[in-house]
Symmetry: C2
Subunit: 208 residues, 2 copies
């Protein structure tokens, strides 16, 4: 996997991975670029071009092996690393994400959840006990999570991000409605829910 | 606002809007492209170029009026339409979104929430009573929401999207982990949480 893959292709990989997971789950073992394009609403040539970028596993007259392609994309995405994940902030959204099965299904193992609210600390969400944020450093040093999901009030976001980075967390999935500064070597992926609904409003009001 | 604005600029508008809202809230009435660029981590020339796209409200030596710019971007984004919004699916995520104040703050008025679970129907989230999904058409005809937020199991997504479209909903904010087919004139904005964490994993494992 030495070849440089363009950012545009990378952005599409999670979606390929999702479709391939569904195919695997429904017992389909191989698929042509044409069939895949019909399911995904893309052109077959776009799909062949994208998949060629990382080695092209298709065979003339046979198509793609769903499993090989699924595993190859999973490897490129780094899912095989089974990154340990924590959630900071057990508000409504944090709790909803703790219940969400989609992360674990894709190899992200949730190992802790934190809050500062005494009435929440000690209560259990699925198998996880909400822990006191004061214990963050101690737990992170023991569990060594790579990813932290941030669902705290935006006023607390920077301070907590700093603490996470200081104890070695490498990536933040940021639901706080604020941009976070992190040093080189640390990655932030933003999920700004209000931005999404504003983009939708724009499209509706402009008939796009 | 007749001029065609490029999609790349449009994508950045919600972020501008967010920063301008924060400036307004902290009582700042004008700002130069240089100051704005420092806050947003973009170049001043990028900002001038973006804002020029829809009329350029900056004045030499004065900068931009925060309020004028804020309102202009809000208008472009269609926020002044105060689109009525409903949530379909009162699971953990649906409930978290019902509690979330960010949508209302940007002009989206939540007017109903639905589920099929008898144990949830009739219970109250903030000011909203969870209603039976059987009443969807009836309520939509009365309330006339423009946007529906979909947080149902993916197996139900297509059927419910179809029902929403049939009774006149114009935009779907789709949290179901599946792509939804809608007819022309209806817009879908996807929030695929698993795609976000996969993009993060990719960046971490490739040191990006």
């Amino acid at each position: 996997m030495e070849k440089k893959i363009s950012l545009e292709v990378i952005k599409r990989l999670p979606r390929y991975y999702r479709y391939l997971t569904e195919l695997l789950e429904s017992g389909i073992t191989r698929i042509s670029s044409k069939e895949l394009s019909e399911r995904m609403g893309a052109t077959a040539s776009q799909i062949r071009q994208d998949l060629n970028c990382f080695g092209g596993f298709g065979q003339q007259g046979y198509g793609y092996s769903v499993e090989v392609l699924h595993d190859a994309i999973g490897e490129i995405l780094g899912l095989n690393n089974h990154y340990k994940t924590i959630i900071v902030g057990a508000g409504n959204l944090g709790k909803a994400l703790a219940h969400y099965k989609g992360f674990e299904k894709r190899g992200f193992k949730l190992c802790a959840i934190f809050d500062i609210d005494q009435s929440k600390i000690g209560t259990v969400i699925d198998d996880l006990t909400i822990q006191n944020l004061d214990c963050l450093e101690q737990v992170v040093q023991k569990e060594r999570p790579t990813i932290a999901i941030l669902t705290v009030p935006k006023s607390a976001a920077d301070t907590i991000a700093q603490r996470l980075v200081n104890c070695g967390v490498k990536g933040l999935l940021n639901f706080c409605y604020v941009d976070i500064d992190v040093p080189a070597g640390v990655t932030v992926e933003n999920v700004h829910l209000s931005d999404s609904i504003m983009r939708l409003a724009y499209k509706i009001s402009n008939n796009l």
